[in-house]
């Protein structure tokens, strides 16, 4: 088998393989991935909504809260599907149960590589930090 300009073409193919197989190499030899272990609130049993809802739609809920609380009629209380009332607040509600941002929100967000910009302004209240 004769390759014309074989040297250059093989170099190109090696680069191609290097790029496309890099994810496999990067993960090679590492333990199987497991979803992060979250530090759950100790004295509470239920979140605002069901666990499934919270896992996938918490950003949507927060976004709605922000809109309802600050735009619209400035309605500050949210009634969940079970009829329980919560103040619509990132710092005062979410973070009161999920006191440790680093061991909860950030755990997922690091793995999913999401950096919510909320924390540019909102802070995790010192009093709630453990």
């Amino acid at each position: 088998m004769k390759l014309y300009n074989g040297g250059k073409i093989i170099t190109g193919l090696v680069i191609f393989l290097g790029i496309f197989l890099a994810p496999l190499a990067y993960n090679a030899g590492k333990a199987a991935y497991t979803q992060p272990k979250l530090k759950m609130p100790e004295n509470e049993k239920e979140c605002i909504e069901s666990k499934e809802f919270m896992r996938t739609k918490h950003m949507q809920l927060l976004d709605q809260w922000r809109d309802w609380a600050l735009r619209g009629e400035g309605q500050r209380f949210y009634v969940n599907s079970k009829g329980k009332q919560f103040e619509m607040s990132l710092q005062k509600t979410c973070m009161k149960c999920h006191t440790n941002k680093a061991e909860f929100c950030d755990k997922c967000h690091n793995d999913a590589s999401v950096t919510p910009y909320c924390w540019d302004c909102h802070i995790q209240p010192e009093g709630l930090k453990k």
Binding site: Y4, N5, I9, L13, F20, N27, Y33, L62, S113
Partner: protein
């Protein structure tokens, strides 16, 4: 019609994935077997295709490229458009791959009229194709890089940075990536161009429409997952990491079917890639008008497909061989039979 066939093909894929992973509960097949196989086909097919090209003899240089070729010292050479050395050619290739200069030269033919109402054929520059092709390709690249967040653990800082830049406008939640919109604009334009321009419609085939519609549906299914279905990203990362570490687990039940539709479409793209026009990804590097320096006056080109058994045959030898019949036919000769004798 051809666009409709392509649309039906893509819709069929969507239906297969929906029924297969949803109703028929074949999540494992759709989560691991299909994408794994497709990736293998992509990598092996790509390499095989390029090796196949490498076996073809390299043609004589094609120096019909824009710009002044190397000439006398006082004539300025256009080094990147008409290179005569290796590094200059590499530069031309780099610019072609990164900035699509060939598309930048795209022109459109117009029929205009001068003052006396005489028709004039005019060629005017047409940059839309270049602009939207550029948007499309770079968006695609950024999107692929961004997806690596699901393939790598821990996520490298570089990918976080790409995501940050891509979502810097901070619109909506989940945050909107600019490339999401740009890829729709880019691919949408490329499709609309084929559908709306009669000349292009005439030369477009199913294998022109199919990849475009496929890529558009991949983008749309991805956006559907993120903004509408709100899939469980953590569970999906679990599955994807299983694929890249070869440590497969049971597929979590919380994963929405739209994920399986999305990866089925991506798998189709990967498996189809080596056999399609999309191979211009590898092919651009092997285009003779881009990768051969214009040095025909500096180097002797040995035509690689010449048969070495066929020796050079000069005109004199030719005349010696056929002098008699040529003379009889009254053809002009360098030497008449008498002179040759």
């Amino acid at each position: 019609m051809k666009a409709i066939y392509s649309l039906i093909l893509v819709l069929a894929l969507v239906v297969i994935a929906t029924l297969g992973a949803g109703a028929a509960k074949m999540q494992t097949i759709f989560a691991y077997c299909v994408p794994g196989t497709a990736f293998a086909i992509f990598v092996i097919g790509f390499v095989a295709k390029v090796i196949g090209w490498a076996k073809r003899p390299v043609p004589f240089r094609i120096p019909t490229t824009g710009g002044q070729q190397q000439s006398l010292d006082w004539i300025v050479q256009n080094k990147w458009d008409n290179p005569s050395t290796g590094p200059q050619t590499a530069m031309r290739m780099l610019l072609e791959v990164l900035t699509f200069r060939s598309l930048f030269r795209n022109t459109k033919v117009l029929l205009k009229h001068d003052d006396g109402k005489n028709p004039i054929v005019a060629y005017v520059s047409a940059k839309w194709l270049w602009l939207f092709a550029l948007l499309f390709h770079y968006s695609f690249l950024v999107i692929v890089v961004r997806h690596m967040r699901l393939f790598l653990q821990p996520v490298p800082q570089f990918i976080v940075a790409v995501e940050f830049v891509d979502s810097v406008l901070q619109i909506y939640t989940p945050i909107v990536y600019q490339t999401n919109l740009l890829i729709l604009a880019g691919a949408g334009f490329l499709l609309a161009r084929r559908l709306l321009d009669a000349k292009l419609r005439y030369i477009s085939l199913v294998n022109d429409y199919f990849p475009l519609i496929l890529i558009l549906s991949i983008a749309l299914s991805g956006m559907y997952m993120r903004y509408i279905a709100k899939v469980d990203v953590m569970a999906i990362k679990d599955v994807v990491m299983g694929l890249t570490t070869f440590k497969f687990k049971a597929v979590p039940a919380s994963i929405d079917v739209s994920f399986f539709v999305h990866i089925s479409l991506v798998s189709t793209l990967l498996a189809y890639f080596p056999f399609s026009k999309l191979m211009h990804f590898g092919g651009v590097f092997l285009s003779p008008t881009r990768n051969l320096p214009n040095d025909t006056r500096m180097h002797h080109h040995e035509n690689p497909w010449n048969n070495p058994d066929i020796k050079p045959h000069s005109y004199e030898a030719y005349e010696d061989e056929f002098r008699e019949p040529m003379f009889e036919a009254g053809l002009p000769l360098e030497k008449t039979p008498e002179e040759a004798a």
